[in-house]
């Protein structure tokens, strides 16, 4: 068959195969595609900033693993050198996490000066200098009663909101556990009353964890229902989409659904996260075998919001299969950018119904 005939045969296939140009032909879709693709230059790595914290939370990833025992390097000059080298190898986005970055203020300044795009994962109990203009993700694990029990901290949400109300960097990240699903409604109402931004995370069990916070199929379904209600109830405050809810509350975890590209689960160093991503410990070393955004998570249970931001986003090719699946993916990426990039505004969601992850059932069956 010559090339022209083969091309026509492909294009006339009864089993409709959408051309990418058809998928983005709708002006609204095209505009959103152009909006999100401007950020394809982001190349992330993550960095533990301190090996101590001002609270001790049950199920904390950091204190479940070995990273907590390494040396804590707090010399700004060494961090500056690290950041310069990171920039040289193409890193354009830093995630400053573990154990509590607000306890290392001088290091935050150094990182921001060298790589000005990034995010800080904090418990929100200490204020971070406004000169560090990264997004700040403030972890919320339930109402104040639950926080007192699980995190041993009094009036947690009130203190977090007092510190970060009216701060455009702040995004409150509510982690759904098996036990705190119903509490989201009072927390979301309180955050909305204080004009705070909110997104959702899923408790993903640390390696070896078998406690009560681990999700079940029933708790995943209930969580999805709560997420979808809040997207509708508080569209200006909640940074999320239907497809975010699908991806993070599916009975199968992110790796089973999307093939996690982080080095810990991906041996390839050809391109993408498998090539460039590193997770630095506080002694400024990294270990490829442990490199992912939350290294002490049980990968089979991982539904972590930070993981999804990379794992789902990286699967552009797979989602460019038909207009609805692509719109769902665009919503996901649009929400992800609003959560992670300072000044990026989430647009109206394009796909307000449930779309299944592409090839999910086939992949899992095989």
């Amino acid at each position: 068959m010559d090339i022209a005939k083969k091309q026509n045969s492909f294009r006339n296939n009864e089993d409709r195969r959408w051309k990418f140009s058809e998928i983005i032909a709708d002006p609204v879709v095209h505009e959103r595609w152009e909006k999100v693709r401007k950020f394809f230059f982001l190349r992330e790595s993550t960095y533990d900033m301190s090996n101590h914290c001002n609270i001790q939370c049950e199920g904390c990833y950091y204190f479940k693993g070995d990273k907590q025992f390494v040396e804590e390097i707090q010399d700004p000059l060494l961090w500056q050198e690290l950041m310069k080298n990171e920039k040289k190898r193409g890193i354009t986005y830093v995630v400053l996490a573990g154990a509590e970055p607000s306890l290392a203020p001088a290091l935050l300044e150094v990182c921001y000066k060298e790589i000005p795009l990034g995010c800080i994962a904090s418990n929100g109990l200490s204020q971070i200098s406004p000169s560090v203009d990264y997004n700040i993700h403030i972890s919320v694990w339930g109402n104040d009663e639950t926080s007192l029990r699980v995190r041993k901290a009094k009036n947690m949400l009130q203190r977090q909101v007092r510190n970060y109300r009216n701060d455009p960097r702040a995004i409150f990240v509510y982690t759904f556990t098996r036990e705190n699903i119903d509490e989201i409604f009072e927390v979301a109402r309180f955050l909305k009353e204080n004009d705070c931004k909110l997104t959702f995370n899923m408790f993903s069990a640390p390696t070896g964890y078998d406690g009560n916070l681990r999700h079940t199929e029933a708790s995943l379904a209930n969580t999805r229902e709560a997420m979808l209600k809040l997207i509708t109830d508080y569209p200006k405050n909640v940074l999320f989409s239907h497809y975010n809810a699908v991806a993070h509350t599916h009975k199968f975890g992110l790796h089973a659904l999307y093939d996690c590209p982080y080095p810990r689960m991906n041996p390839s160093t050809d391109i993408g996260l498998g090539r460039s991503f590193r997770q630095y410990r506080t002694d400024l070393t990294w270990d490829r075998n442990m490199s992912c955004c939350v290294p002490d998570t049980d990968c089979s249970d991982c539904r972590h919001y930070a993981a999804g931001s990379a794992v789902v986003t990286a699967k552009l090719f797979r989602h460019a299969s038909d207009p609805e699946t692509f719109k769902a993916w665009l919503d996901y990426v649009d929400a992800y950018l609003a959560i992670w990039v300072r000044g990026y505004e989430q647009g109206e969601n394009l796909c307000n119904h449930i779309v299944s992850p592409p090839k999910a059932e086939t992949r899992i069956r095989n």
Binding site: I3, F20, F40, P261, D270, I271, G272
Partner: protein, 87 residues
């Protein structure tokens, strides 16, 4: 049209799509080295390659396998892949 000419045509077209989609500067389809490593030397990442693959699929009426396109790290490798799919 000889097989060699066809490959060269595809190489030229791939270079054109890459320049246009990724907004590459200081290079033309004619000056784009088909053997330059796109990842190491141009700084192209997986999302960029996916974008280019989607556009090329439309143009040539073929499919890249999802597992294959990340390995196609030069313009010549991409062109040869397309040619093989069309033959």
């Amino acid at each position: 049209m000889t097989a060699e000419t066809t490959t060269n045509d595809i190489i030229n077209r791939v270079a054109h799509v890459m320049i246009e989609e990724l907004k590459l500067e200081d290079v033309t389809p004619e000056t784009f080295d088909p053997d330059i490593d796109l990842v190491d030397e141009i700084g192209i990442d997986s999302m960029d390659l996916a974008t280019v693959a989607l556009v090329l699929q439309d143009e040539y009426g073929m499919r890249f396998d999802e597992d294959d396109y990340p390995k196609l790290t030069t313009i010549r490798l991409i062109a040869e892949y397309i040619k093989k799919e069309l033959s």
